[in-house]
């Protein structure tokens, strides 16, 4: 069995978000990056299947040189092989462009299962995974909080509203986009990190994938024109001063509400 896990490297969740002067995105040159939180859960889910069945876990990520670190981390955690699509021609792709790149990888790898995160911590588009499944022609389920394998089918519990779950059965090959908290993500062991250095990490370009002219900014059908801090509504009354002054202010408010 082969499992393909799609990873995205995103700004660290505590990174300073300074908007670029052109407003097109945040300044990325000076911040730290990490594997998208949702994707770490997807990788862990794949590694658990591997622990149980000796599946091959292949990780793929798209981006500049720094993405190698994310892929090595994944290999250190136990993935068998990594693919790095490193090509400026991908820059400016919309989610559909990214999905086309991943679909080309998936068509070449022909995995039984594809695990991804539900959305990315930066764009929050939650678009690529179902698009990828559509392009590859396989069923998908998003916001998965539980995945059970049963002989060629996957029983997936999807998180819906109010703490309820919707159970769907998918016939493999299929794609599951996982929610955070689906499992507890393992740390790479020292042994794993050392072994990772020898595991295959293959580079691909857009031309290698036969996608020249079909991805990147020129092909994108959506464009993030400008990002900016949200305009504050009527805004909170902000309390400042010493801890005592602040606490005093809060206690007064609670008394005013008739709750103290």
């Amino acid at each position: 069995m082969k499992i393909l896990v799609c990873l995205k490297q995103v700004p660290h969740q505590d990174a300073r978000l300074d908007v670029r002067p052109d407003g097109g995105w945040i300044q990325e040159d000076t911040i730290k990056f990490e594997i998208n939180s949702y994707d770490t859960y997807a990788l862990e889910e794949a590694l658990r299947v591997k622990d149980a069945t000796q599946a091959e876990v292949v990780v793929v990520s798209i981006g500049p040189e720094r993405v190698t670190q994310a892929l090595r981390t994944a290999l250190g955690m136990g993935a068998d092989r990594a693919i790095h699509v490193k090509d400026p021609a991908v820059d400016g792709s919309d989610p559909l462009g990214i999905a086309k790149v991943l679909a080309a990888i998936a068509k070449a790898e022909n995995p039984d299962l594809i695990f991804t995160g539900f959305m990315s911590d930066d764009g929050n588009f939650a678009s690529v995974p179902p698009m990828l499944a559509e392009l590859v022609g396989i069923p998908s389920a998003t916001a998965a909080v539980q995945v059970e394998r049963k002989n060629g089918t996957l029983s997936v519990s999807r998180e819906i509203e109010g703490g309820a779950q919707e159970v769907v059965e998918l016939t493999a090959p299929c794609l599951v986009a996982v929610q955070t908290g689906i499992n507890q993500v393992r740390y790479a062991s020292l042994k794993g990190i050392m072994a990772a250095k020898k595991k295959p990490l293959d580079l691909k370009t857009v031309a290698d994938l036969g996608l020249s002219g079909q991805v990147g900014a020129g092909a994108a059908k959506i464009k993030v024109e400008k990002i900016a801090p949200p305009s504050k509504g009527s805004g909170a009354e902000m309390l400042t001063g010493s801890t005592d002054q602040i606490v005093s202010g809060i206690v007064s408010k609670i008394k005013e509400l008739g709750l103290l």
């Binding site: 179902p130 059965e169 993030v224 024109e225 309390l239």
Partner: protein, 324 residues
């Protein structure tokens, strides 16, 4: 100028409020940009609902009636929506960003090679061009997104627009949807959450902690004492539950409990949309966070930029003193 197709959703035998919100958006765009509004209502026993939606902003409604459409499933929903897109020739397809919407909409967009913008809180027409507004970085920044190409699919955040309040007239047409055997996705069941622990929806006062609380033991050490002092209940944001620091029944948010207490105190909670959805209609919200740009301050009535480990214990002490 074109056709808008609303993909309406049925929940508990009724049309979801979010679908009336889509109708409101569609009718505004139609008035401004000369679009025609059509809708799809797919399910089992939809005739009466289709008539209702046609009168309440849905315009001309396609009624796709089939047993297999009774519960959401990605394959059947996909086929029904594709059939409606083909029948209507719609250039703009609107869905709500609900668990069904976010599951199927991207697939529709990929199949149509269309522009796709998810989770928008506002749609405008500027010079005849669609401009979509959505949040990025877990609610911290607003993004203005434009689209190109002949067709666009958009999902809209539930609750972002007011439901359509006017009346329209439209005709209902049956829509045949091909649902061949050999489906590779099958709806099995809905599992309702077991109610465990405190029912937060009944608490008058909730003190919630987020990732900023830093470690599991800080919940009983720092957050619970304040909740106890106020005679309230403790809650948590999603990352706390994901990390295994507290069980799921403490989670406040769209996939946990939605609460409306008299007082909601959020300590160390950034304010991602999924959390805000769960508490923003609280009567009074106090937020404590060391990040002045935390989105939680947008819904808070009272905000403190500071260290919760200094403020919360001091507040607990002061509350106990005030109670004598």
């Amino acid at each position: 100028m074109g056709t808008i197709l609303i993909v309406a959703e049925i929940q508990g035998g009724k049309i979801r409020e979010a679908s009336f919100e889509l109708a409101s958006i569609a009718q505004k765009l139609a008035a401004a940009g000369g679009y025609q509004v059509r809708s799809l209502l797919a399910g089992k026993g939809v005739a009466a609902l289709a008539e209702e939606f046609a009168k309440k902003g849905g315009g001309d409604v396609y009624a796709a009636e089939h047993d297999s459409l009774a519960s959401y499933c990605v394959e059947t929903a996909s086929r029904a929506i594709r059939a409606a897109v083909d029948a209507s020739g719609a250039e703009l397809i609107l869905l709500s960003n609900t668990p069904s919407g976010w599951d199927v909409a991207p697939r529709i967009a990929a199949a149509l090679d269309a522009a796709f913008v998810s989770d928008c809180f506002k749609l405008d027409l500027e010079g005849g061009k669609l401009v979509c507004h959505r949040r990025v970085f877990n609610g911290k920044l607003d993004a203005r997104v434009t689209t190109s190409g002949p067709r666009t699919v958009v999902t809209v955040q539930p609750g972002a627009a007011s439901p359509f309040a006017g009346s329209t007239s439209g005709k209902v047409t049956p829509l045949a949807v091909e649902l061949p055997a050999g489906a590779r996705a099958r709806f099995v069941a809905v599992k309702i959450a077991e109610s465990k622990g405190v029912d937060l929806s009944k608490a008058d006062i909730i003190v919630s902690g987020g990732r900023g609380v830093g470690a599991p033991e800080k919940f009983p050490e720092v957050i619970q004492p304040l909740a106890d002092a106020l005679g309230g209940a403790m809650g948590a944001s999603r990352p706390v539950v994901d990390a295994g620091w507290l069980p799921h029944h403490y989670q406040v948010g769209s996939s946990g409990q939605v609460v409306q207490p008299k007082l909601y105190i959020a300590a160390g909670i950034s304010g991602a949309i999924q959390h805000l959805v769960g508490m923003k209609t609280s009567n009074y919200i106090i937020a404590i966070n060391k990040d002045p740009d935390a989105p939680i301050f947008e819904v808070a009535n009272l905000g403190v930029v500071g260290d919760l480990f200094e403020i919360v214990p001091a507040l607990t002490k002061a509350v106990l003193a005030a109670k004598g």
